[in-house]
């Protein structure tokens, strides 16, 4: 599903440049549940953004669903994101003036689905994350955990190939963290590829594979106990 070879990424800082990713090789197959760990500034988000086509790498090759990602223009990237990827962010990133239901339905708008159909599909996904009754609420009327579940419903609504989550539990307490992780596990059980960044060992332990980054290099890549248990 995701194949990365000798990937490099630098950020220009004034005249110098900051070398963030220094040759990453990573292969994630369909249906995997992978977490990335590493200290702050190790390049986790950078990697996820490149995988999510939100940012561009400098060197190396990246294949998404077998397709080489190279010289993508913004329009093509947008279409690929809409088709293959779902995002969950630490800060939820819901649109404040849209209801939970409208937020979930938004990716379907960009897919070109008609309004009636997309509201119906969106409602199914809200139901799936247990928030059917909150459909007409605005984001600021929801708790953090509820917001993140809305965001997850939104990431899933287009039935993407991969769900990318950058510290999805970073802003949540332990109970809501557990409910969000349960949701991600369920999705993965249904066959979806899930790729999360986290700081918390307990969260990482609930995935099936942990990739550890340090200074832009993968230092370890191991299956978790949960995966071994299967």
């Amino acid at each position: 599903m995701i194949r990365i070879e000798k990937l490099h990424k630098s950020y220009p800082i004034g005249k110098d440049s900051l070398h963030v990713l220094k040759g990453i090789d990573l292969h994630i197959k369909e249906g995997e549940f992978v977490s990335i760990m590493g200290s702050s500034g190790s390049g986790k988000s950078t990697l996820l953004n490149i995988v999510g086509l939100l940012d561009i790498h400098d060197e190396g090759d990246y294949y998404l669903n077998g397709q080489l990602i190279k010289d993508l223009n913004e329009k093509k990237a947008a279409i690929l994101r809409n088709k293959f990827l779902g995002f969950v962010f630490q800060s939820f990133n819901l649109i404040s003036y849209k209801t939970a239901l409208e937020n979930v339905a938004l990716p379907l708008y960009y897919k070109g689905m008609n309004r009636k159909e997309r509201l119906k599909v969106a409602m199914d996904y809200l139901d799936k994350v247990g928030l059917k009754d909150w459909a007409s609420h605005l984001p600021n009327e929801l708790s953090g955990g509820q917001k993140q579940r809305v965001a997850i419903a939104r990431a899933l609504v287009t039935n993407p190939k991969v769900v990318l989550a950058d510290e999805p539990t970073g802003a949540l307490d332990t109970t809501t963290t557990d409910s969000v992780m349960d949701l991600l596990k369920d999705i993965n059980d249904e066959g979806m590829t899930v790729f999360v960044i986290t700081h918390e060992e307990e969260v990482a332990e609930q995935t099936k594979r942990i990739v550890r980054l340090r200074d832009g290099i993968i230092i370890s890549d191991t299956p978790t106990k949960a995966a071994k248990a299967l």
Binding site: L54, D55, A78, N93, L94, Y97, K98, Y110, R115
Partner: protein, 410 residues
Amino acid sequence: MFDLDRWREIFQSINKNRLRSVMSGFTVAFAILLFTLLFGVASGLGNFFKSAFADDAQNMMFVRVWKTTKPYKGLQTGRAIQLKNTDYNYITEEYEDKIQYQSARVYKNFSIKYKNDASSYSVTAVHPDHQFLEKTIMDEGRYLNERDLREKSKVIVIGRLVKKDLFGEKPALGKRVNVNGSSFLIIGIFSDEGGDNEERKTYIPISTAQMMYGNNDYISQINLGYNPNLSTDAAIAFGKKVERDMRKKLNIHPDDQSALSVRNMAEANKFVSILMFALYLIIGFIGSGTLIAGIIGISNIMIFVIKERTKEFGIRKALGATPGSIIGMVVQESVLITTLAGYFGLMLGTYILSAIGNSLEEKYFIKDPTVSPGIVIGATVILILSGLIAGYVPAKRAARIKPIEALRAD
């Protein structure tokens, strides 16, 4: 453009951000309001100038004579000049193609009597064309015609107020009045936009008058309506030529203004049109300045609005919005706001102008100020264009920001 979903997105964004929308709309509404008022006032001034000359035909010219003030060819100064029928006919033959209407005038004041009521009125002897030169409006009956002239009929056309003085509410048409001892048949009653004085006049055929006044062929003044196809400059040149030719014919010094002069409306017309041109130039300058200020205003607000929405655009992009769809959304929103707000400003301006109406005519020389449909259409096009520009420039910039940077914004 007719994507219902796109419109729904835009209405939601406008509705949920009312303050912002009203703020950006206000600039435009205000600019268009000023623009409308300026053009309205200009047109009001123009209407005033035009109506100031509305009394007589716009293409009127008249030949006046008095006494010579310069000796010429051995003739003394102080010689009184008298126009005669031969002069009238000379003009008819000489300038046929340049003349639309022609009439002579002989002025007198007589007592006009009906039954026991009598009063003194101006009795002007004229040709039938005089009706068009003076813009006489027939309320009842008819004006003088060629037959009256040929037969030297004792017929008279009286002004509305003459009729009122002598007949009150009773009918006057077909009645006979006594003019300086002769009985005249009333064949018509007229009104005139030139005011009360004009409506206290009476007209009789010139041939009848010349017979009555001692069987002479004297004329006080010759009035001409130049061919309206002549350009203003050609008409002015024509007036000068008539002046030159007539002075020559009557043995008057070529520069003797007092002895014979041609007063030409074309000169006044030219002055008014130059004045109006200058006025519209100034107003156009100020008006477009106001519009440009409005466009810059809304552009600035749009830049601010788009900055505020950068994160939203980032989210939309992550969810699959193409740069084109972001630009389209912003531009459409901006066009909608400018058009609605501008339309509001236009309507308000038009309403204010119609409320002003003629109330400022006396003091400020503004008469019936309106904006022409051409200006309204032009302003609408400018509005839509300005909405496009105001939205496009910042939207383009917003769409260029990488999604990852947009998401990081707050």
